[in-house]
């Protein structure tokens, strides 16, 4: 009886779900800038409302998000991750509102993924994204899925504040960001994507024209004498390619981009594999071995830390009732082995509705002229406990 009621509610009246959580970050070293604080506690909420009608062919999804951080006023922030109306038919879909879209296949970095801005204050790995205003038409054809995006309104990247860790020194002053376009953050961007599955191959081709999600930084002296980096958002055109070949236990992956408009035209790629050993040592656990090569043909002043780097990783999935997982990774610069970044991510469900996430990152950088050198003092261990409802 209960299940019938629940199913009924899900269709007719809409449904709330989501999570609340607390996070502690423990920093192992003193900061580069004495204004930066140490260990920090923060609280997060991400509720989610979903309702559908028209026999499931129309729906509304609303996902607000907020975090309150003990020290960093920039990290205390709120966002609408999604507020999107969907209308679906057999051969097409329309999404209108604030949405989130993911493109790509690789693990170490996400070159092709460009629709949403990175919410960098959330996580230094760049995987958290801000909601993006969009009109998306998706055509589902025998020749693949064609997506057209019109993106009115640009979201600026978030950066840690004066007291925050995991930032450059000098800090990034995001309050007066500069733009190439005179329309600034009101420039209307657009994008196209074609994606298709051909047997073992999943292929995507994409084109983006508009405001770069990734800024360049202009060293500036503020009126009070403080040196800061001011973000500058170029107008770019980016062609992207992503391919995955799934061959038995091997996943072969490639992402490549060509970007114009951000200084010199440049190319970047990530390519590699993930191989999974099922049932290691007669247990139910799977062990994944990941290796990816990261390349960027810009010269040393490039923003990217990954000009000629190798990522090695291992993923252990216990396949137990608590869905316990570990991911251990290393990214190392093939030109300078003193530049390397270690990370570990682990997660486990506790009981029915709790989840524990543990993350640690250790970064070694030797170039004192690089403003991001300060990140090397921000090695941290993070514990996050989430309660789902």
């Amino acid at each position: 009886m209960l299940s019938i009621l629940t199913a009924h509610n899900a269709v007719m009246a809409g449904e709330w779900s989501g999570y609340l959580g607390a996070e502690a970050r423990i920093f192992l070293d003193d900061p580069t800038d004495p204004r930066q604080q140490g260990n920090t506690l923060s609280f997060v909420a991400q509720p989610e409302y979903y309702t559908e009608w028209d026999d499931g062919n129309q729906s509304l999804l609303f996902i607000p998000f907020a975090r309150i951080d003990q020290h960093d006023t920039e990290r205390s922030h709120a966002d609408i991750r999604e507020l999107v109306w969907l209308k679906a038919a057999d051969t097409w879909e329309v999404h209108i509102g604030i949405g989130k879209v993911y493109w790509g296949v690789t693990e170490s970095q996400h070159l092709v993924d460009i629709i949403n801005q990175t919410d960098l204050v959330e996580s230094p790995d760049g995987e958290e994204k801000l909601g993006q205003p969009m009109i998306n038409l998706s055509l589902i054809r025998d020749l693949g899925i064609f997506d057209l995006f019109v993106l009115p309104g640009f979201r600026e990247r978030t950066f840690p504040g004066i007291k925050g860790r995991l930032r450059s020194v000098p800090r990034i002053d995001a309050d007066d960001a500069l733009y190439e376009s005179s329309r600034k953050n009101r420039h209307v961007d657009w994008a196209l994507r074609w994606s298709h599955t051909l047997g073992d191959w999943d292929i995507g081709l994409s084109w983006f024209d508009g405001t770069s999600r990734e800024p360049r930084f202009i060293p500036t002296i503020k009126p009070d004498g403080e040196s800061v980096l001011v973000p500058f958002y170029d107008q770019i055109q980016q062609a992207g390619l992503d391919i995955q070949a799934t061959k038995e236990g091997w996943l072969w992956k490639l992402e490549a981009i060509n970007r114009r408009g951000m200084g010199e035209t440049y190319n970047a790629l990530t390519g590699g594999f993930e191989y999974t050993v099922v049932g290691i040592a007669s247990t139910q656990a799977d062990l994944g071995l990941i290796s990816e090569y990261l390349y960027d043909d810009r010269d040393e002043q490039a923003l990217s830390l990954f000009q000629n780097d190798l990522m090695l990783g291992t993923r252990l999935t216990l396949n137990d009732e608590q869905s316990t997982e570990f991911l251990l990774g290393l990214i190392t610069d093939l030109d300078d082995s003193s530049e390397r970044s270690w990370f570990i991510e682990a997660s486990r469900r506790l009981g029915d509705r709790w989840k524990l996430n543990i993350e640690a990152r250790v970064l070694s950088l030797q170039d004192p002229l690089n403003p991001f050198h300060a990140l090397a003092k921000d090695d941290f261990i993070q514990l996050e406990l989430l309660r789902y409802f």
Binding site: S3, I4, A7, A10, S17, Y19, Y50, E52, G56, S59, L86, A88, D90, T91, E93, K100, V101, Y102, V105, E127, S138, I140, I145, S195, T197, D202, Q244, T246, E248, G249, W250, L251, T276, V278, G279, Q284, D286, N319, D320, E321, Q322, S323, R349, D352, R353, K355, L386, Y388, F389
Partner: protein, 260 residues
């Protein structure tokens, strides 16, 4: 019209009684008959409830919804969306099963909005941490096994053929499975699984069969007991709907992302 059903049933049984039939031929004939009787259902929607029990009796629950599309001349297409536990709510799994070549599988991760094509080598791996493996709950094509008839037997008073199945497809976790096939329904009443070392691994009991569209039998409850680690999983099906009008276009990467 009722008069025809037993008559047809006895006609189809006839070839199985031929003395020249080898145990292998008879086993295959039983599997083919079961497959023939379970053809033509079109599509199915159902809710699945799992209760996982460890050796200490601690329980953990799973809830999901599945849509399955019958595909002529190939394995079925299926889409499973998870509702519980809540941390994996809206995670969804799309699968195009094939008789002998590797299945095509995609996983949708809602937190990142990411669709991942995944390897189907994990057929022997546990489904959602349960005692069911992926291969236990995916589409059972005749070509996936070779067969051997063992004997006639009874399960809870019902007459059954006992057949052994030997997986042909790669990456199975079993050397063989022994199936008690009900002689009236041509559906499994019980299955015993032997691991890669041919040791007894699991026992599955299927209960509360109901008939749909006057033709297709489906169990309402299954219990899988792992004889090696003492864990067990109950799997209950609720709200079976047949022939709901699902189409090929309900099983692609877009529907995987938006299905709730």
């Amino acid at each position: 019209m009722k008069i025809w059903t037993p008559l047809l049933a006895s006609l189809t049984l006839l070839p199985l009684e031929l003395p020249a039939q080898t145990p292998e031929e008879k086993g295959l004939a039983i599997a083919m008959e079961a497959d023939k009787r379970d053809t033509g259902w079109g599509d199915i929607k159902t809710e699945l409830f799992m209760v996982l029990r460890n050796r200490q009796g601690q329980e953990s629950k799973r809830r999901m919804r599945s849509k399955i599309l019958e595909v002529d001349g190939d394995g079925d297409k299926s889409l499973i969306v998870f509702d519980h536990p809540r941390d994996i709510k809206n995670t969804a799994f799309l699968s195009y099963t094939h008789a002998l070549k590797a299945d095509d599988q995609w996983l949708y991760l809602p937190a990142l909005k990411r669709v991942k094509r995944i390897s189907s080598n994990n057929k022997s791996g546990p489904f959602m941490g349960s005692e069911f493996a992926y291969e236990d709950i995916s589409s059972q094509e005749v070509e996936k096994y070779t067969y051997k008839f063992i004997k006639d037997d009874k399960v809870n008073g019902r007459d059954a053929f006992v057949i052994e199945r030997y997986p042909v497809y790669k990456h199975s976790g079993y050397t063989r499975t022994v199936v008690w096939v009900d002689k009236e329904m041509y559906q499994a009443l019980k299955t015993v699984f032997y691991d890669r070392k041919d040791s007894l691994l699991k026992e599955l009991v299927l209960n509360d069969y109901k008939q749909y569209l006057g033709k297709y039998w489906r169990p309402s409850k299954m219990t899988m007991v792992n004889k090696q680690n003492g864990k067990s999983t109950d799997l209950e099906y609720k709200g079976y709907e047949f022939n709901t009008g699902l189409k090929d276009s309900d099983f692609n990467r877009n529907t995987l992302k938006r299905t709730r």
